[in-house]
């Protein structure tokens, strides 16, 4: 279990408790956090769960987990930044308790 903070582009903050093994995209969808769409359901097929990992967490979370994720990020609608990730590929564990992710202005 980890508490993840989602900060929307306008500064609105949401906190969600997410079970270990779930991913950051699902945590947002289950909790009705609208800045994440996740239309493909976590299959690395859509790029609508784009997020920016907070600078303080990026070293621990790391960059794209696969070449597929890096490729698919190129299809994201909002600006890409060095800390861009697809949130469906960030799997929650106890170690990520307190994680902060920033959401882009739009997902498509």
């Amino acid at each position: 279990m980890a508490t993840v903070t989602y900060i929307e582009a306008d500064g609105t903050r949401h906190h969600a408790d997410i079970a270990s093994g779930e991913n950051v995209m699902r945590g947002a969808v289950i909790n009705d956090i609208e800045g994440i769409v996740g239309e493909c359901g976590g299959g690395l097929a859509c790029a609508t769960c784009h997020c920016y990992v907070d600078q303080d967490w990026f070293e621990q979370v790391g960059g794209p987990a696969s070449q597929d994720e890096a490729d698919m990020l190129e299809s994201a609608a909002a600006e890409l930044r060095p800390t861009s990730r697809l949130s469906c590929q960030i799997v929650v564990s106890d170690d990520l308790d307190g994680l902060v992710v920033h959401l882009p202005t739009h997902q498509f």
Binding site: E39, G41, G42, G43, C46, D68, M72, S75, F108
Partner: protein, 420 residues
Amino acid sequence: MAIDPANPVPPVFTRSAGPDQVPPHVPPELIRSAGITFGPEFLAAPHRFMAQLHETHPPLFYDVNPFQNAWQAIKHEDALFILRHADIFSNEGATPFPRDPADYFYFIPIEIDPPEHRKYRNVVEPMFSPQGVLKLEETMRQLANELIDAFIAKGECDFTRAFGRPFPVTIFLRLMGLPLDMTDTFVDWAVALLHSNDRTIMAETLAKIGAYLKQAIAEKKAHPDEGVISRIAHAAPDGIPLSEKEIFGFVIFLFIGGLDTVFATLNNIWLWLANNPERRAEMLADPGNIHAQVEELLRVHSVTFSGRTVARDVELRGAQLKAGDKITCILPACNFDPDVFPNPTEVDFHRPKKIILAFTVGVHSCMGAHLARLEVKIALQEWLKRIPAFTLQPDAEIVYRPGGVIGPEWLPLQWPVSPA
């Protein structure tokens, strides 16, 4: 016009069909009659035809035909825009199956727009998520091998009947909690509904399917099990049980959507495999790239379309679309858009990963996409392991049936058999 999913009413819209019913705002230079899903040029080689639309047709055109006049979008970019803006391009009234006005129901969730749409998806999503479908992997592999056992020694089969159909349909019926001895009947119903192109037959068939499923739902209500129908029958989003109409509309939609699509996809892929021995060898030599192989094969062998109703006036590619117009995204053509997939008809297992439209996109993207991907992957792996070299039978004639799910009707294959 917001609708109440629990209290369905037939939509009031006029179906325009044929050259006499082209609205005046459609520019004459954009009017075509492409014959998609039924014309002789289409049926001769559907995927080649749809790839060539990028050369033969404007990027957005208005198709006039005997069934449903509608705008047709073939650009990848336009499809993403249309399918991701449910507020402009609505699914209400966009599903063509005729229903009894006296006992009307909505197909759920496809005909329900946001925000109500999400509550239905949540009911079944755990079973259809990437993690959820993995629970079926072992039984899928076992089923694939049982099917192959039945015909491998003969050195030949009609792929469509021996594997392409029973593989996904059996998996689907198990998942739903429906009896496997009904497989042939279900398939016949699906074929009549999706391929008859005859609204009388469609309506009769839909009534038969409905009668059967009402009984199945009643049984699951009385005797809950782990299947999808039971889960829907007992669902209570936010503590409120789904109504009879919602349960029925949800179950019948999954039934229609789940029977025929993977079947047609497998038939398309196996036809390509039979004709491309060197590419089969390439796949076998690179088993670690199976996910990219599946995705690329889905891109070039997509089988279906996404129809929407324009909810408010909007401009697209310079054309004025008016509220009430119909628009169809020709998903297989969008997957051949050369601006997104250079050299689009070439099967390239090392393309940079992009959004493919095999399962559409947006809130109504296919719930069964992860199930379908897994089925295609396992079918490829298990078949190629046991029957790595096969060809079309010499007298095989490839025929496509008209209708909204595209695949060859028969696929007679043969392979060498070592003497016992």
